[in-house]
Structure formats: structure tokens, C-alpha cells
Symmetry: C2
Subunit: 207 residues, 2 copies
DNA sequence: GATTATGTTGACCGATACGGTCAGCGGAGG
DNA sequence: CCTCCGCTGACCGTATCGGTCAACATAATC
């Protein structure tokens, strides 16, 4: 790819990246035309080909960018640090939301790219994903203390249940085209409050 | 549309419908070619045009079929009947799962069609949706008794939380291409059991 | 003001894919 | 043998695709 892309004003770089995420998140690789990305970025198709040699290069660049900034933001946001269950879930979601504010379609793009079947790119995606997993694996949650929670509860189910509800929340907002991240954030925080009240031992006693 | 479609063996009708749901659920209306649907259905493009005058007619037929069979199955499954919270949630999900067994992509198709922006079909979709809503609206849940649940719980939050987790569960399974409905059903039942234990008053006392 | 370097585009190319048509194949029934 | 009918491959005109290129605009350099 053309190194001049990086000397572009940051605003313009992000415009192009956002456009790429947007278009590639809506259709498969093969059905996402360069012309559409250029139009969404507000530049000409020629200029897009000036920065990226071909479609594949742009696609893999976007995938790499997606993975890179996700890890960066996660580290910056302290999502890998050792906290209690709720606050680590909270910091993880905060990072996700901050990322979506900057790049609204990054989440859907990541999922689509990961499951992309087109032989022109699929193997590269899988290989790259493997490297990222190898580097950042093993960052686990601190062992949680069962005594913090209401007695008899299935902690694994509780965790999975919270995860699923978070995903469902995200997915529901993604469905409507115009995603209101402020509303999402507020709803997510309400969810966490609700879980604390229901699942935590001491909080329950306050009722 | 050609009435001969209905005199086709049911198996073949379903093949075509399934293929339509599949292709239209993966891309937008404009980017879903008839040739791909025909190939997925195992018939020639010509034959597809023999049963449906054009792409739009097929699309609207699929949308109508989707709405019709959903309502039919919901009624047959007793999802509109008056039950307690958990069992009505359960029967609703059972219907959804049974539908997905027969037409794996019907759910994603419905969502995509509802949010479809293409002017060639969007207005027809919205109009048709309005009619369905007008007919089947107002079927509400029975008033639930707060005394059944643990004291002090926010019932509205509880309901929304359960809804979100169900959606998140569905969405997660949909992401992996090959969806294992049996596993989904099992996991959903586990979720309901978990909720009962955590949210219901008498169940909690059993612990 | 002339010249050069840099950023950007519209027009264009060959190839492919699209929605839709149609003549005709092949098998079953008369 | 003929006729009907389900079904297809080949085809048509057009649109769109990935990618190229000459040229325009703008600003810096001399």
C-alpha cells in the first residue's frame, strides 16, 4: 500500500477507513465494490486505487487496522487488567462503545471478515487472526469469589447469561440503521446495575 | 406469479423458498442475483423466472410467506395464548426454533427485508408490514404478579434482560454459518431454568 | 511568472454479471 | 406418431466490476 496514506490528515484517513468498514460490513467481500467505498468516503475511485494497489490490499489493511486498534484500545482502557467480574465487564464494554463511536461498523465488519469465505482473502484473514490470538491469548479473568454472590447460583451460567444479554443489546441497536451509542451505553449501565442487585449477595440484602 | 408454483411438490416449493431466504438474507435486495437463488435451489434460472415474473415478485412473495407462516406457527404453537411469563417466553422461542428448523434463514431474512432501503421494494414491504401489525397487534401478556418474584426486583428490567439474552443467544448461533438448532434449544432451556432459579421467589427459597 | 511536484479526478478499458427471454430438448400421455 | 409440459442452455442488451491513465488543479519552488 502507498505510504502516503499515512501522511494524510487523520480526519481523511478515518473517513476512508470508516467507509471501508461500512461497505464491507454490509455485503460479502466479492459484492462490496471499490466504487461504493470511494463514494462513501467522499473521494474518487481513482484516488482509492492510488492509496491501495487493489481491493484485496484495502480489505486486508482494514482487517489489520480493525485488530490493531481493538487491541490498542483494550489495553489503553484497562480491559485486560485484573478486576472483579462486573468492572472488567464494564471496562470491556466501554472500550467497545468508544470504538464504535469512532468506527460505527467496526464490530460487524470484524465478524463478517472473520467468517468470510471468499478464497481470495479467507486464508489471509485466518492466518492473521491466528497470530493475534497467539499473542493476546491467556489473558484471563481473576478467579472470582463465590461468596460475593447469592448462594447456590451457577456462576458459569450467570457469566454466560450476562454476556449473551450484552451481545443481544448490541445486536438490537445495530439492527436499526442509525445507532445511538449514548442510548446503548445508558442501557448497558442499567443492565449492570440490575445484575449487581440481583446477583450480588450484599446488594441483595440492601433491598 | 405463476399458480403452477403451488402445484409443485411441497419439497420443491420449500427448496425454492429456502434458497430465496438464504440468498436475500446474506445481501441486500439489489446485490442478491436470481441466478444465485436458482443455483441454491438446484434449478435453472429460467425455471425460477417461469414461476415468478421478475425478481421483485419473488422477493415480495418471500416476504409475504415469511410473515404468513410466522403468524400461523405462532398461533398453532399457542404463543399468543395467555400464560405466565416464563412459559409464554418459552412457547414463543419454541415456535421460533421450529421455524428455523424448516427455514434456517427466515429470521435474518425478515430483519433484512424490514430494514431494506431499495426503493424498488421498500415501500411495498412497509405497507405489508403495517397491515400485519394492524391485524395482530394488541396481543399482550397477562399482567404478572410481582409477588411471584424476589422482592424489590425491577420487573421491566428483568423482562428486557431476558429478552436481550435470548436475542444474544440466537445471534451468536447465527454467526457461525452452520447453526445447530438442537444446541440452541438446549441452551435456551438452560437459560430459562437459570432465570427461574434466580428471579422466582419460591424457587430461590429452595436453594 | 515559469516550472515543478503533488493531490485528485473523469473518462475509459476489457471482463464479467446482471435481469430477463426464447427456442428447443426430453419424457410422459394419448 | 403427435402433443403437451416441465425444464434448460444459450443468448441479449445493459450495467457494473476492478483497475488504468492522461490530464487537471493547486500549491510549493525557483
Amino acid at each position: 500500500m502507498n505510504p502516503k496514506f499515512y501522511s494524510l490528515p487523520e480526519e481523511k484517513q478515518q473517513q476512508i477507513i470508516r467507509a471501508g468498514f461500512r461497505v464491507f460490513s454490509q455485503s460479502s467481500y466479492r459484492k462490496s465494490p471499490m466504487s461504493e467505498i470511494a463514494a462513501a468516503a467522499g473521494i474518487s475511485k481513482s484516488l482509492l486505487f492510488h492509496y491501495f494497489q487493489n481491493k484485496k490490499e484495502l480489505y486486508l489493511f482494514l482487517w489489520d487496522t480493525c485488530a490493531r486498534i481493538t487491541v490498542e484500545e483494550m489495553e489503553k482502557g484497562g480491559a485486560y487488567d485484573q478486576h472483579d467480574l462486573f468492572s472488567s465487564m464494564d471496562s470491556g464494554m466501554q472500550v467497545k462503545l468508544r470504538l464504535m463511536r469512532k468506527y460505527p461498523d467496526i464490530g460487524v465488519f470484524a465478524v463478517r471478515a472473520f467468517y468470510e469465505k471468499d478464497p481470495e482473502v479467507s486464508s489471509d484473514i485466518q492466518k492473521s487472526m491466528g497470530q493475534y490470538l497467539a499473542v493476546h491469548a491467556g489473558k484471563k479473568l481473576k478467579e472470582i469469589d463465590p461468596n460475593d454472590f447469592i448462594p447456590g447460583i451457577d456462576l458459569e451460567m450467570m457469566y454466560r447469561e450476562m454476556y449473551l444479554a450484552s451481545e443481544g443489546c448490541l445486536w438490537e441497536y445495530l439492527q436499526r440503521g442509525s445507532l445511538d451509542i449514548d442510548a446503548m451505553q445508558k442501557e448497558f449501565e442499567e443492565l449492570v446495575e440490575f445484575w449487581k442487585k440481583v446477583y450480588l449477595r450484599r446488594e441483595r440484602e440492601d433491598i
